[in-house]
């Protein structure tokens, strides 16, 4: 067994069930009523968090931090669900989580926050995050965080991580062409950006929630503001991807049939 210090970078995205309508606001592009829409944990960051918690559970002495950059008030609402899922300590950074922020600025804010975490042991450090985000899909943020922290071992589309117990890591990663690559890494520090992971969303556990929240509320209060956004950037044009959204609710439909219908719809 080896203990890890696992940092998970993850924040919120608008609940996908909401009507998401891109607009141009005075401060740049955004979503209609974005500040008021309910948010959920970015699904890729979710994979990373649940994998991190599982890794920590199986390696006693490990600890998980969730480093989140988002509007403070919205982060607080988000915590009410995810704090009940797995044990972690929150490090909150107050700033925009919009899909139109510059990933470089976001990576700067996050790596600064990570560098300031007291007691973090670099020889045990694993930096987790999503390989992409449901609202910011540039897929570069984790790389830049790694660079800023001087971590060169980076795995950017992880599906599975195994730890033989000697501190080394075995990583299953997806690469181009629908193929997988297995890498061995001598050990921490490393950056792992998760593509899927293997774990389901854990059920709510109020005891875990009560324990987490005692530290989360002060962390939210202490959240330092970070300047992220799109200031200085001029968007010469913003285009909404051509999308056609048809929400339909079906009951008792077998998975095969759903797949068949989607294929028929795409090829129609």
């Amino acid at each position: 067994m080896s203990a890890f210090h696992i940092i998970v970078c993850g924040s919120l995205v608008p609940d996908p069930l909401q009507t998401l309508e891109p607009i141009t606001s005075p401060t740049g592009p955004g979503l209609k009523n974005e500040a008021m829409l309910p948010a959920v944990l970015d699904p890729w960051a979710g994979h990373a968090l649940y994998e991190a918690a599982n890794l920590a559970k199986n390696n006693p002495g490990s600890k998980v931090w969730l480093v989140s950059l988002g509007p403070k008030a919205k982060l607080q609402q988000l915590m009410m669900t995810i704090a009940q899922k797995v044990p972690f300590e929150l490090v909150a950074v107050d700033g925009s989580a919009s899909g139109f922020t510059d990933p470089f600025e976001a990576a700067n804010a996050l790596s600064d926050a990570i560098a300031k975490i007291p007691g973090l042991d670099r020889s045990k450090l694993l930096v987790f995050g999503g390989c992409a985000s449901a609202s910011r899909d540039a897929g570069v943020t984790m790389q830049m965080i790694g660079e800023k922290l001087g971590i060169c071992d980076q795995f950017l589309a992880v599906d599975e991580l195994s730890t033989p117990g000697d501190g080394s890591l075995r990583i299953l990663e997806r690469i181009e062409g629908g193929r997988y690559q297995v890498s061995s890494c001598q050990g921490a520090p490393a950056v792992l950006a998760w593509a899927t992971g293997k774990l389901p969303v854990p059920p709510n556990n109020p005891q875990v929630g009560m324990m987490n929240m005692r530290a989360i509320m002060p962390a939210l209060q202490k959240a330092v503001p970070a300047k992220v956004g799109s200031e200085g950037v001029t968007f010469s044009s913003v285009e909404v991807p051509k999308q056609k959204r048809e929400t339909r609710i079906v009951k008792d439909m077998p998975v095969d049939e759903i797949a068949r219908e989607i294929v028929a719809w795409i090829t129609a």
């Binding site: 069930l17 009523n33 008021m36 109020p206």
Partner: protein, 694 residues
């Protein structure tokens, strides 16, 4: 209408936390999320898969129990030292949980609450050992523990012709079976129950019985366990058409148990067992809390209906040839029609008012619980029981009235001398208790009566806005089922008649009436600042109600019979109904003002927040006008319709008419508020789909 005043989205958690005053309570916010996960996940799937179509206690329904255990819903009722996770009073926590579950299916809420109801007699009046034993047995196992949690049922109601609304005379019996000089007496309990929730799987039951033995005094409640000696017959499932996710049976028991199972313990005097609490004392303590939760089940239904109705209205004509994108017919659908919008405004306003009333009641009990325990300790120490206790309360009545007067006057209460006096009075537990109790005794039955009764009627409106779809199983939001379910909420834990009966007594308590007079002053101040919220109408309605009550209490009808009398339901019950409308509006206004004051401080989107405040203000105004109309109608009927020319005095008629005229004038602008609220409903953004399966 100004764009910045628009309602942009449906209200989310941040808004509700402020209005219902739990923005500082992260424990409660997590409880809400947890219960919501269960409601919109496993519960909704079970309903969507036809889980309600059977009277039997099926495997699918039974699985819910485990889900409640795992999500913390079961342990919510317990203290941390018993295995729970929230310390202190839990009325608001339970209310929020029931609200979330009922947003999808109230039967699941009933199912989760039934065990608490069984535990409540023990929790409220049990001995320390009884509390410790049963509370900890009912806590779900902690990780690593190998134990099945116990579940209970509360057995009061009996087969016809026995206990129903009238709970004073029981047919369930208790006798001495064995009593050796040295040992503990063994008692024989015989009871048949009817419509007992949780009976399909309960491991223990708390049962109300009456003595059938000269060696046991009066009545009591006892605890029976399924493995006790004798018959523990669960009986057959009730063929109910509502709340099918809860188990209801007609059981029968004939068992021998030790006398230590008498809830609250007993003493022995001259060879007679004297239970420390009669069954009535226990059920009074139980129901005064649990009924609030039931009231909120119906509020959740009304508020949950808003989103599916808007979606139905907007999409009604899409896909047809005449409705092409960009045309009003396509974009607005039924929302082009004023009536469809106005009726939806009424449903939403009723939902808001009933939720505000119910959550205010739940919070009131959270504040009241510790005070009640303190009062119990004092009364016990001083040996104050029955009449002696009443006398002790009478003695503090004048000072209690002074306390109400001082705390209600915002100007005076900031003066140091007054503040000192307020503190001095508040320190008297019996005084503070009697003031809080006077309100508790009114808002609990009012919540149960109005939220469920008027709520069920309003739920019918919600169903009709969905047309034929509304009365099918496929209706999004399960609105048809919710309509029917609301009728059970109006019935169990004391039907409407029971609540009206309680109100007709408690609402005439001078300590309550004094608080109401303070509210009138408060509403006047609110009206001066925010005339658009309808505070003047609510204040004037209170004045009319108080005047009419006073008149009815002093007057006789044309036949010379006293008008206000407990048995004269035509008068007293009608006034109780009227009062509920007033209370609901009053608390709705209070919650909207809370949002106005606190919301802006934390608003991520100030414009959006202004939109909410303005929309909820319109709803308050709409509801205030409706309340004024109802109360006015009731008071007018009671004032005039029992009299004839000879019995009515001219001055009284003049005074009454003056009150009514003033009230009528307060309605100015309310319909314009309704128009604005209706307009907002055409603009508000709703999600793409409901967040639970249908």
């Amino acid at each position: 209408m100004n764009d910045h005043m628009n309602l942009k989205t449906l209200p989310g958690d941040d808004i509700r936390q402020i209005m219902w005053r739990f923005s500082e309570r992260y424990d409660l916010q997590m409880v809400v999320q947890s219960a919501r996960g269960v409601a919109r996940g496993p519960v909704a799937r079970l309903v969507a898969n036809g889980g309600r179509n059977s009277h039997e206690w099926t495997e699918g329904k039974n699985d819910l129990l485990k889900t409640f255990d795992e999500s913390g819903i079961t342990a919510l009722f317990m203290e941390p030292e018993e295995g729970g996770y929230i310390a202190g009073p839990k009325n608001l926590a339970l209310a929020l949980t029931a609200f979330e579950l009922s947003w999808v299916d109230a039967g699941s809420a009933t199912c989760s609450l039934a065990s608490n109801l069984a535990l409540s007699p023990i929790h409220e009046r049990g001995t320390p050992e009884q509390k410790q034993t049963y509370m900890s047995r009912c806590v779900p196992p902690q990780p690593g523990e190998n134990r099945t949690p116990w579940r209970g049922a509360f057995v009061l109601t009996e087969p016809l012709p026995y206990v129903g609304v009238d709970t004073s005379v029981l047919s369930g019996r208790v006798r001495i079976a064995e009593w050796n000089a040295s040992g503990e007496p063994v008692i024989q309990v015989e009871k048949r129950g009817r419509f007992i929730t949780g009976m399909g799987f309960a491991n223990f039951v708390t049962v109300a019985v009456e003595s059938d033995d000269s060696r046991i005094k009066g009545s009591c409640m006892v605890i029976l366990e399924e493995t006790d000696q004798g018959t523990f017959d669960r009986g057959v499932p009730t063929k109910k058409m509502v709340h099918q996710l809860s188990s209801t049976n007609d059981p029968s028991f004939n068992m021998k148990i030790p006398a230590s199972r008498i809830i609250g313990g007993y003493t022995v005097k001259d060879g007679v067992i004297i239970p420390n609490y009669s069954h009535s004392e226990i059920i009074e303590a139980v129901f005064r809390r649990t009924r609030v939760t039931v009231g909120l089940m119906t509020s959740a239904k009304l508020l949950s209906a808003v989103e599916p109705i808007i979606r139905y209205q907007r999409g009604r004509f899409r896909g047809g040839q005449s409705a092409t994108p960009g045309t009003p017919r396509y974009d607005q659908g039924l929302q082009q029609k004023e009536d469809a919008l106005h009726r939806l405004v009424d449903i939403w306003a009723t939902g808001e008012a009933s939720a505000s009333l119910g959550f205010a009641a739940a919070r009131h009990f959270d504040a009241f619980d510790p005070l009640e325990r303190e009062k119990d300790t004092i009364c016990e120490a001083q040996g104050l029981k029955g009449r002696a206790q009443l006398r002790a309360f009478m003695k503090v009545q004048d000072e209690a009235l002074e306390y109400i007067r001082l705390t209600g006057n915002s100007k005076a209460s900031s003066d140091p001398k007054t503040m000192g006096r307020i503190e001095e009075l508040r320190a008297n537990t019996l005084l503070h208790y009697s003031v809080m109790d006077a309100l508790a005794q009114v808002i609990c039955p009012a919540t149960k009566l109005w939220n469920t009764g008027h709520g069920a009627t309003t739920m019918r409106e919600a169903v009709s806005l969905m047309g034929g779809y509304g009365i099918t199983e496929d209706c999004p939001g399960f609105l048809g089922q919710k309509w029917m379910d609301a009728q059970l909420e109006a019935t169990y834990e004391g039907p409407e008649a029971v609540q009206r009966r309680q109100l007709s007594i408690t609402m005439t308590n001078e300590l309550f009436l004094a608080q109401m007079r303070q509210w009138i002053a408060e509403l006047r101040e609110i009206d001066a600042q925010y005339p658009e919220i309808g505070a003047s109408a609510v204040g004037k309605t209170m004045e009319l109600w108080l005047w009419t009550l006073d008149h009815l209490q002093k007057s006789k009808d044309a036949n010379g019979k006293a008008l206000y009398h407990n048995q004269r339901h035509g008068v007293a019950f009608a006034m109780a109904d009227a009062l509920c409308w007033i209370l609901a509006s009053r608390f709705q206004i209070a919650d909207t003002l809370e949002l106005r004051d606190k919301g802006m401080q934390s608003a991520a989107d100030p414009e959006g927040m202004r939109g909410f405040v303005s929309f909820f203000t319109n709803l308050c105004h709409v509801q205030a006008a409706r309340a004024a109309g109802e109360v006015s109608r009731i008071c007018t009927e009671l004032f005039h319709a029992y009299s004839n020319e000879a019995s009515a005095s001219g001055t009284q008629i003049e005074a009454f008419t003056e009150h009514r005229n003033q009230l009528d004038l307060c309605l100015r602008g309310a319909r314009l508020s309704k128009d604005r609220a209706a307009q907002a409903l055409t603009q508000v953004m709703i999600p793409e789909a409901l967040d639970y399966p249908v």
